[in-house]
């Protein structure tokens, strides 16, 4: 079974749908149960105890976990000087702490099997240093740093940990961003085109599968940067 967080919308939903259509058993985690593909559990990943309860339940049911896709996250486009502290806290708690919670609580379910693949989500904004995304990028830079070190910790158990760092991807979440802003970011990518959720789902399938067995601690940048 593969756990996908943030599966109610955006990339998390696309990845969950792809994995289900590929015949994989998926457990979708999200804050709401509405529109969530596959088996689902309502869970806010920023709440350590909530994630812990899901992990305990899976262990009791002796569910075997092959993979974890940490797609839950929030974005906020604001200059740092105009971002309220509550938003800073929310970005760090959801994007960084939420990823850490899921890794530390679901990894033991893979350690028992000594196999597994974990995918965390960063952003191309970390590499490009995009204006208006400083705090968002900081939370995701934390995810990258955590993932590299966690990859070493998990290597002893044959569990791989990698990051996918998308640029702008054509999902509902881009609705609030102007075409000009999107074009400006896309122009900075090595491959200057707007990629689709399917492109990210392709990478997820690759990282979850045996073809990527030589990769761990890496950040795959969608579009290149």
């Amino acid at each position: 079974m593969i756990i996908v967080t943030g599966a109610s919308r955006g990339l998390g939903r696309s990845v969950a749908e792809r994995l289900i259509s590929s015949g994989r058993e998926v457990l979708s985690l999200s804050r709401t149960s509405e529109g969530v593909p596959g088996d689902s559990v309502t869970c806010d990943v920023s709440d350590y105890e909530a994630v812990k309860a899901v992990a305990q339940s899976l262990r009791k049911e002796k569910r075997e976990i092959e993979g974890l896709v940490n797609a839950a996250g929030i974005a906020s486009m604001n200059l740092a000087v105009t971002t309220p502290p509550s938003m800073t806290q929310k970005l760090i708690q959801t994007n960084l702490a939420g990823t850490i919670h899921c890794c530390q609580l679901f990894a033991p379910l893979m350690i028992r099997k000594k196999a597994g693949s974990i995918i965390n989500f960063s952003t191309i904004a970390v590499t490009l240093g995009l204006k208006g995304e400083s705090i968002y990028a900081a939370s995701k830079a934390g995810v990258e740093g955590f993932s590299r070190a966690f990859a070493r910790e998990m290597a002893d158990f044959d569990i791989r940990v990698n990051c996918i760092a998308p640029g702008p991807i054509k999902t509902d979440l881009l609705k609030g961003v102007s075409d000009e802003q999107i074009d400006a970011i896309v122009a900075q990518q090595i491959l200057p085109k707007l990629f689709l959720p399917d492109d990210v789902a392709d990478l997820c399938e690759f990282l979850l599968g045996p073809q990527s067995q030589s990769l761990s601690g890496q950040v795959l940048k969608v579009g290149g940067a």
């Binding site: 305990q56 262990r59 009791k60 033991p108 350690i111 028992r112 910790e153 002893d156 158990f157």
Partner: protein, 93 residues
């Protein structure tokens, strides 16, 4: 399960996960510079105790704030880990 049983379980688990290469004592350090288990074996020990707790009908939580603050670290020695394992079993009985 009494306190002595808990100690025996911890020691037996250490022997098992190290294939008998480590002979545990009550005061053997589990963390720190004199630790006899590497980090990988320590995780395996935790998972082994978690599984045994499940068989015994309780949840062994080695990450709780309460467990950590009670003795600064339940992983100081074999005895401290066994005490925590026993305490959690008693608390959930």
């Amino acid at each position: 399960m009494n306190a002595e049983d808990a100690k025996k379980r911890v020691m037996a688990s250490i022997t098992e996960i190290t294939d008998g290469e480590v002979e545990p004592t009550e005061e053997m350090n589990l963390i720190g510079k004199n630790a006899r288990l590497d980090s990988m074996k320590l995780v395996e020990l935790c998972l082994s105790l978690e599984d045994q707790a499940g068989d015994l009908g309780f949840e062994f939580d080695w990450t709780s704030e309460a467990a950590m603050s009670r003795s600064r670290s339940l992983f100081r020695t074999v005895s401290s880990l066994a005490e925590e394992f026993h305490a959690q079993a008693e608390a959930q009985a």
